[in-house]
């Protein structure tokens, strides 16, 4: 094999293994002795880093592994962040507020207050770790009760839900009465 063929095999082996590969195994793959193999790998690794390539070869305790170059880290990270990143929309904020003040609360009760389907908003909040299931309501269908998470309280600096700022009583009562009338 010519040098560039040897390099290609090393590249392919390191790529596909996805973990550190010992010098002995690589030497075996290209049918070369360890010293020569080591020299080839090192030359290849240098070439990668000289050319500022996106993938590098690192040595770990006599084994070799392919990895991404540190200078590409932020770009990779941005992909996985940007696809999921989305701020707290008005709809999520309102749902979160209802859960915070009325917990434990069912989706049905949230919908009753907001007047729109709460599935999406509640799922999003659960996914974000702001809200979690806290039990089941003792009612037909045993609907899930939702409450805020410890992380939620910690973020806003409350020790417990009892510490949440009190609401204007008038509004609360009126709305609760109203909810009862409609039930």
């Amino acid at each position: 094999m010519k040098l560039n063929e040897l390099e290609a095999v090393i590249e392919a082996v390191l790529f596909v293994s996805g973990e550190a590969v010992s010098l002995a195994v690589i030497a075996d793959a290209i049918s070369m002795d360890k010293a020569t193999t080591k020299a080839i790998i090192n030359a290849l690794a240098d070439k990668y880093s000289d050319e500022k390539r996106g993938i590098h070869i690192v040595e770990l305790d006599g084994e070799y592994q392919m990895c991404t170059a540190a200078h590409c880290f932020d770009y990779i990270r941005s992909i996985y962040k940007s696809t999921k990143r989305q701020g707290l929309t008005q709809s999520l904020l309102e749902t979160l507020a209802i859960i915070a003040y009325k917990q434990p609360v069912t989706k049905g009760q949230i919908e009753e207050i907001r007047g729109v389907n709460a599935d999406h908003a509640v799922n999003k909040l659960v996914e974000r770790g702001l809200v979690c299931e806290v039990g089941r309501q003792d009612a037909p269908g045993r609907p899930i009760l939702f409450g805020t998470t410890k992380e939620f309280l910690r973020y806003f600096g409350f020790a417990s839900t009892k510490e949440l700022p009190q609401l204007d009583e008038n509004i609360v009562h009126n709305s609760l009465d109203a909810a009862k009338i409609e039930e």
């Binding site: 392919a12 790529f15 596909v16 293994s17 996805g18 991404t68 990779i76 990270r77 996985y80 962040k81 696809t83 999921k84 990143r85 989305q86 701020g87 707290l88 929309t89 008005q90 709809s91 904020l93 309102e94 979160l96 507020a97 209802i98 915070a100 003040y101 919908e111 207050i113 907001r114 007047g115 729109v116 389907n117 599935d119 999406h120 996914e127 974000r128 770790g129 702001l130 992380e151 939620f152 973020y155 806003f156 409350f158 949440l164 700022p165 609401l167 204007d168 509004i171 609360v172 009126n174 709305s175 109203a178 909810a179 009338i181 409609e182």
Partner: protein, 255 residues
């Protein structure tokens, strides 16, 4: 022709029939139906003695062949307008041709399969899952810029709105209302809905006691969504329910 063919070696009646045509070097457009039917039946009968498995389909073809054979035996109608008379073999021929087209291409598939089997892929790097997890638990990022005061106000706002809805008399006095609903908000709401369920009826967007302004704003948002090619709508007839579906090719996703 000696009967050494094993039925099990064929993928089905088409495969067997096709083999016979090739073996006998027959012009596919002029199949000697008597000869082929006899050969076919001989093989099928022989196989029947040994196994009854997977026979029904071969027998179905046998029946088909016999039918063609008998139709070929019937004297041809010599009517003046018999130009449109179809060769009893025509349907079989076109089926064989169709089958041959796909059978031919499997050779190339096989070669590509062999070549592609030498190409290896790797699993996703385990460190990626850390990025993803990290994203889910980062409340700080998600709530960036949100104070508890915002939540407090949001709740008050929700309750106030609810109260207004119930108190119809008072709310009806108001001539100017604050714009509670924005088209932007409703667009993102429709986007959310269409992700959760691919098909929504127009009135399902609303709850009971919905306000007129909200209906109008939502309807405007819906028109905007159609223009932006996020959703498509359909209606069976005038005044029927409008059905909203995700626009084919729309790129909205969970994001």
């Amino acid at each position: 022709m000696e009967i050494t063919l094993q039925l099990e070696n064929f993928q089905g009646p088409m495969s067997l029939l096709y083999h016979l045509i090739e073996k006998n070097k027959i012009d596919i457009y002029d199949i000697p139906i008597f000869e082929i039917t006899n050969q076919y039946l001989a093989i099928v009968e022989d196989a029947q003695k040994r196994s009854m498995d997977v026979m029904s389909e071969f027998l179905l073809m046998a029946a088909n062949l016999l039918e063609i054979k008998s139709r070929m035996l019937l004297p041809k109608a010599k009517n003046e307008d018999s130009e449109n008379e179809i060769d009893p073999r025509a349907e079989l021929v076109s089926k064989l041709i169709e089958y041959k087209r796909f059978k031919n291409v499997t050779e190339e598939f096989k070669e590509r399969e062999e070549a592609a089997s030498q190409v290896l892929y790797k699993e996703a790097d385990p460190s990626l899952s850390i990025f993803k997890q990290e994203e889910v638990v980062e409340i700080e990022d998600f709530l960036d810029g949100v104070s508890f005061d915002d939540i407090y106000k949001a709740f008050q706002e929700v309750l106030r709105r609810k109260e207004k809805k119930v108190d119809r008399v008072r709310s009806s006095f108001k001539s100017v209302e604050r714009d509670l609903y924005t088209v932007e908000e409703k667009i993102s709401y429709i986007k959310d809905l269409i992700i959760i369920s691919t098909k929504i009826r127009f009135w399902e967007i609303f709850r009971e006691n919905v306000r007129k302004t909200e209906i109008v704003v939502t309807f405007m948002a819906l028109l905007e969504c159609i223009k932006m090619k996020i959703v498509s709508i359909s209606q069976d007839g005038a005044f029927n329910e409008i059905v909203i579906t995700k626009y084919i090719g729309s790129e909205i996703n969970e994001a």
